[in-house]
Symmetry: C2
Subunit: 467 residues, 2 copies
């Protein structure tokens, strides 16, 4: 009986689709593609501001700029949410070479990993031990590692269709390589860049020493994929070559920063909050255009596209530009902490943090019932080639909001090119295609529109179906 009612409700719901919802989605996509702001905002963030590492002057400029842009949109509320963030600085450019015999050196491209300590004055020169992963260390033992540089060289797996899976399968080397190798007396760590392409760009990213005492902490850096192959090839010919690297990075004291928040207050249910977000900080090497300038400007444009499409949300829609996703997640944690302390009800949070590429769909962290409700919206997205609706992860910044009722989601753009740019100096504005970025903003807006209209509780009841 309950089932039959649900089916009838679904049918009525499906008929309603054909009219208002399809029209509103068309309005949203058309507005984004013909009159979107995301590309213009990204141009400014990337080319007028640039890389926005937490605690940097650029991060501060990005806070000011996005707040000012929110204020131009005529939102109901715009505010800064204070959060203390770590401040790591790269310092003087890194330098590294392979020495095959005294005086015979070949320069290679490296960059310090975020959070790493610097090398001693004059750098480090040592023999190299190449490994394929953390698990190799125990087998080798201290006798083979002590005094050496450990070179983690397990590549991303090319045959995984979803490149984030390939990343997930490798990133332990970057995150924990120095922590683990330090325990065996290594003097430094070099990690193959998390990049599926063969090129000369080293890719940075966060690493951790965990609880390791300072005496065991060793510097760690990423090496470009081309140079990882070079080093590995040279080692296969001669185990006794030396590797030299110097880096000048430092962890400084925490500084004040902010999440930037803009809000359209709900017309009917102002206390039910829907969040869209990306992270405003980025690594320092490029401009952070894909990671995550794209997510920032798309989230901003969700508010603007709703207004420009003449849609008045029933619930409160907030765009949250989180600070410090890359090396601390302080912004995401702070937002959730404040929400909890204020007893706010968040029903849905959507993050865009996978690049400004053609959107393919979304992944959802929610109940099976809610997922099947969302899946029933798929036909509405078909004209926009949005086909990927799967249960799975969402995004790092919205993760801390998780509780028993909130629906978390992540935009899933095409992932083939993402790791070509991720955390590297080529993550710049020219790598972003305007239409691909705008289609992502429109897809996020469309999903937010439907969530706002139909809520997240269950299959909608009749009062919700009437528009």
């Amino acid at each position: 009986m309950k089932y039959t009612l649900a089916v009838v409700a679904s049918l009525i719901f499906a008929l309603t689709f054909a009219q208002t919802d399809a029209d509103n989605l068309k309005k949203i996509y058309t507005t984004s593609l013909t009159d979107g702001m995301s590309y213009q905002w990204l141009d400014h963030l990337s080319n007028q501001i640039g890389g926005r590492l937490s605690g940097s002057l650029n991060a501060e400029k990005a806070v000011e700029y996005t707040k000012a842009e929110f204020e131009k949109l005529g939102l109901d509320k715009v505010w800064l949410q204070p959060v203390m963030v770590p401040r790591w600085v790269r310092g003087a450019p890194e330098f590294a070479y392979i020495e095959t015999s005294p005086g015979q050196t070949t320069s290679v491209n490296i960059c310090a990993l975020g959070g790493s300590i610097e090398t001693p004055n004059g750098g480090i020169k040592a023999k190299v031990i190449e490994v394929q992963g953390l698990e190799d260390l125990a087998a080798l033992g201290e006798e083979n590692i002590k005094g050496k540089i450990v070179f983690f060289n397990r590549p991303m797996q090319a045959d995984l269709i979803q490149t984030f899976e390939a990343y997930g399968g490798c990133v332990d080397q970057r995150y924990s390589g120095a922590m683990e190798a330090g325990k065996y007396g290594a003097v430094g760590v070099i990690v193959r860049s998390m990049n599926l392409r063969m090129d000369d760009f080293p890719h940075t990213g966060t690493m951790s020493y965990g609880d390791l005492p300072n005496s065991q902490r060793i510097p760690s850096a990423a090496i470009s994929t081309n140079d990882a192959e070079l080093l590995s090839g040279m080692l296969s010919l001669n185990k006794n070559i030396n590797f030299f690297f110097s880096q000048n990075c430092k962890q400084l004291a925490d500084v004040q920063s902010y999440n930037v928040i803009g809000e359209i207050t709900g017309s009917e249910f102002p206390n039910e909050i829907i969040v869209v977000g990306g992270h405003l900080d980025s690594w320092d090497l490029g401009d952070g255009s894909h990671d995550d300038g794209a997510g920032v400007v798309q989230s901003m444009d969700v508010l603007r596209l709703l207004k420009a499409s003449g849609i008045t949300p029933k619930r409160t829609i907030r765009a949250v530009l989180f600070m410090n996703e890359e090396n601390g997640l302080r912004g995401g944690n702070k937002y959730a902490e404040v929400a909890k302390s204020k007893n706010e009800t968040h029903i849905f949070a959507l993050e865009s943090d996978a690049g400004g590429f053609t959107p393919r769909g979304f992944s959802f962290d929610c109940s099976d019932l809610m997922f099947s409700k969302i899946e029933s919206w798929k036909p509405l997205f078909k004209p926009y080639l949005i086909h990927y609706f799967e249960q799975g992860g969402s995004g790092a910044d919205v993760g801390p909001l998780k509780d028993n009722t909130i629906v978390l989601a992540g935009l899933r753009p095409d992932s083939q090119r993402y790791f070509d740019y991720h955390h590297a100096s080529n993550d710049t504005f020219d790598a972003v295609n305007k239409r691909e970025l705008e289609l992502g903003a429109a897809s996020m807006t469309a999903l937010v529109y439907l969530i706002d209209k139909y809520g997240t509780d269950s299959i909608p009841n009749e009062s919700q179906i009437k528009d």
Copy 2:
């Protein structure tokens, strides 16, 4: 009864899927992504040979190179199919400027359209009349057009999700602009480039004078989108500005060229032929990497990936690298003509000519019954994010094979970036992502594998289901 049998057959078929077919698709995709040749071949075509306009020395080199590469693959047959092709040459670089008053000039970026005549010695300088399309000409009449340069400035429509539709909605200006404007006494034609992006690259492409007498034939060129906006803006301020352009292009006598064909002869049904193809010629401005180097190397790799995946096709699989798609379609016509004269049975032909971007699926020109059979294969493609199966067009080169029984198909890659590069000097190797290209080659191979295994006649019968 028939229906019930079909359902039972489908169910058995579905179970079979779970085993061999899924495994074979996995083998195909893995081989392409870890051991594909398409990217290496494209590197040579683009960077060692370059643009391959029909009748050019480069086109000849491309014929020799691809034939030699086919021969390395240990195919059953490799041959050249002679075809006479037109030869149009660009000559000295084009030059153009806007003259706002005597001596006050601004250079703009143009390129001659393929097939256009040259300008008279010393170029053409004339007043400009801006129009939004062919239909504006009749309304303006000879009194407003005679002696002027007609500037066709209707942009591609940004809100169409599939960019080929936007192209289809504009390209009449390029193809017929000079033919139509010539009838009203215009002295030249300038066409806004078929490009959704604002940039400085003029995009060439084919145009035709139809049956117009030589006396009415006028030179025509494309202008970059940025310069089209500039020209339009200047015209809105002052209708009396002059436009100057000179171009040196010529149509020469037809020359001998070739389609390049490689074949794996079918083990059971050698007389049933499946074609995969792309076109070997390209425009001369860039390297023709996306259009259609990508389709060429993907088609070549279909044969190689089948062999490398240990698949022995029952039917004959031919990769056909067609000559002269861009300005004549002589290769496609010749291939069909020869096939007909030999009474060959072609059951399926798949073309890749929409760029080397992430594949989204295929479009099929076939019966509803056959289409529903193909649609039943969709679940096999889901792990590879191939979701687009629609009835529609196929490709220009395979089009002439059309008859009552053949199934024609086109690979459908993501189309958002295609017109950023199409027929322009930035269609170069660096604009192609290795993984995206390889995923396309794998998707084509997977479809060919299924077509070969299950045939194209109807829902498969039991003898076909057993592997």
